[in-house]
Amino acid sequence: MSTATLPPPLTKKEFQTDQEVRWCPGCGDYAILSAVQSVFPELGIKRENFVVVSGIGCSSRFPYYMNTFGFHTIHGRAPAVATGIKAIRPDLEVWLATGDGDALSIGGNHTIHMLRRNVGIKVLLFNNRIYGLTKGQYSPTSEFNKKTKSTPFGSLDRPFNPISLAIGAEATFVARSVDVFQSHLKDTLKHAAAHRGSAFVEILQNCNIFNDGAWFNLTERDARSEHVIQLEHGKPLVFGKNRDKGIRRRSDGDIEVVQLGNGISESDLVVHDAHHPRPSYAFLLSHMEHREGFPTPIGVLRAWDDLPRYEDVMNQQIKDVVAKRGVGDLNKLLRAGDTWEVK
């Protein structure tokens, strides 16, 4: 095909709608919307083939602001609706916008089942650790003992770690980024877009009204490099303001934080392998943030794309049966089994 027949590349503007964006001023969702609108035109996919599906919550207003096909469904059920779309139209590029309450509380069941089936859906989980649209109750990712409108004496639930949960469900692509790390976020979204199976991206997002500063220890300039480790496939796990700390394997299989120097060099560190078929290593990384002195990982934890997509095997099964039996003959089907003639 000559380049002359190609339509002009799409622009960010073409993915914006005429609808007034109704998130609170200063909300992290604006940054995420901007990143997605920037990345979509770069994917080489026709605009009509994008479908953005969402559940309920602040994040789930997302489809209204994307000039694609969009379906704002009901609370928690977006993964199931999206699964139905993909089953019938595996060719469509289906993205799902969801939040910590939508995906992990009311829709937890659908989230894990979508991931274990490896439906080819890109999931953007906006994690602000709070219920925003219902005005400030704790969420399944809120820290223990959080004081909110519904928990004036502190919450009693231990939070979910979305990344661990997704890896536990054996999601084939699991990544994390941050609303304010624009270029990292765009790169992460591009990695997700390139993945054929389920791609789960947790986006740490600030709710400046009900949970302001939830991620400041990761996003503030001074704290950032000490508390965040940026994962890159094939590169050693190094972090720290002076890139002087790293993650090393211990003989018992666990990992530890080490200071570089004094005989310890980058060659002693774990080299990040996002493509490992088994999820155990990624799970180990996902737990670092719960441990004293360990950094919080961002980037692609796991990207193993050898598992067939659910919608493909669903359609393949039909093709296989048709190949074996031929296209079904309706008259034959209606007459199946024992029949008798009345004259």
Binding site: F71, R77, I88, R89
Partner: protein, 624 residues
Amino acid sequence: MSTITEVPPVKSKRQVIDSAVIRFAGDSGDGMQVTGSQFTNTVALYGNDIATFPDYPAEIRAPAGTIPGVSGFQLHFSASEVYTPGDAIDVLIAMNPAALKVNVADLKANGILIVNSDSFAETDLRKAQVTSNPLEDHSLDKFRLFPVELERLTRRALEHLGLDTKSMGRCKNFFALGMCYWLYNRSVEPTVRWIDDKFKNKPLLVEANKLALKAGYSYCEATEAFQISYEIPPAHLSPGLYRSLSGNQALALGFVTAARKAGLTLFQGSYPITPASDILHELSRYKDFGVMTFQAEDEIAAITSSIGAAYAGALALTTTSGPGMALKTEALGLAVAVELPLVICDIQRGGPSTGLPTKTEQADLLQALFGRNSEAPIPILAPATPADCFWVALEASRIAIKYMVPVIILSDGYLANGAEPWRIPDESEIPLIPVKFASDPINFQPYKRDPKTLARPWAVPGTPGLEHRIGGLEKQDGTGNINYEPLNHENMVRIRAAKVAAVVQDIPDAVPVGDPEGDLLIVAWGSTGGAITAALQSGCAKGRKIGHLHLRHLNPLPANLGEVLKRYKKVLVPELNMGQLIWVLRAKYLVDAIGLNKIQGRPFKQAELEQKIEEVCGPREKSR
């Protein structure tokens, strides 16, 4: 209607009769459903009209020999038209004391009672909580009792095969079936064919079951146990090719046909639930028809995946029963709001909550009508017989696509598992279901309506220039943009209601069977139709002016229904619930209807209806 109880015993070897009701009863492990289905298949193939009533416990294997473990299968077969599985039974096969205890009350006086006498030991009686042995205490004297050593005789027939005792015991139902074939002069061949196919990879079981079947037949011939046998000639059904069909099978075939006629992929999202699961089992076999079945993680995902499939352009279906229907409630509201075609089958069962999973009831009508938040009307259809489910599946699909609405089908456990002969239509007799996907981007609006049906366009993702957003939030008509303005909301609520009301243009006027006006109109819906027809034909309509109106369309109701109700002095509404249709009729038409309500997990008996009709009509006027 003559039955075998009127036949004088002995003398002639073979007696021609019009109809019989036979019930196989045993432990849920005794294979009673298979035995009953085989007998049904054989007499149906011969040309008898049939109606069946499988009645089995919710427990897969309750403790053997106990009352809760009793499983039954009743068949009414006849040389005339059959409307019900029959009130009282002519022949009862009881495999143990528990089965005898549960079922003997329904056996007619002088009826044939075949019992497996090998299972009437002291321990067997105790398990059934029976204190004296009914085979010895003369409590069964009014029946023609045939105690048969089913286990010992079966073992003797199979002993040379080298099977273990337990496996031989499992074949005793076929021995009993063989006896029944002799009793009604039917060939064992259809069942032999079935055994060959069913156990094709287990030659020893093929041999054992065939031997047991033939041994039962020969036993009757050799011992002249019954002294008499019966012949029920073929029924005079309208000409055509027939098969036996259950309600769930009929729904499955109906949807495959609807998808073919619409040129769409059939997508079924479902979660296993009794008594609806068989539709999923059935449809999952039809991949060669492009059918996509999705066993979802729960009832909610079952319907929401179907909504996604409908959005993407499939003929979408979700199947469930009452408790699952309750879980789907919120998603039904979404389907109403986004105006996508979807068919929901609720195979009703006894409730509330888990209730009576394997027993029938009609108590989900008000749930189907109103069981959603706010104003969310949905068209509702109800099949009247097992085979009617086929045609209702087609009609529901047609309405869903034409009006861009979810449509509910209310079947029930009795229709789902019951079977009847079905005249198989030719594919060419079934009209196409027109489907129009939007494709023109010029002036495209997601909620621009067809003036006649008020349907919005079906604009599937992937269509260039039609990018748009839909969702559960209130929207502006036409553009589909989010809109919370008071008058807009009222307008949208009224449009959605008007759209469902407009379906009435595709619904024929109500025409009662029987008298078009007069003393009594019986208004009913769903699976009660057969029993009502049988009651009216039995004579209680004689000398009275009675009409029977069986409603297939429960929302919207036929346009002339109010006028029809006024033509009769009295209106009787029999239902297997506390009075739901009657509640609607009273509210909508201000008619002082009389209810007949039964909530026992079982269908109406013909006699119950006859009694109520007599009571409501009062004594006959002499002038007639």
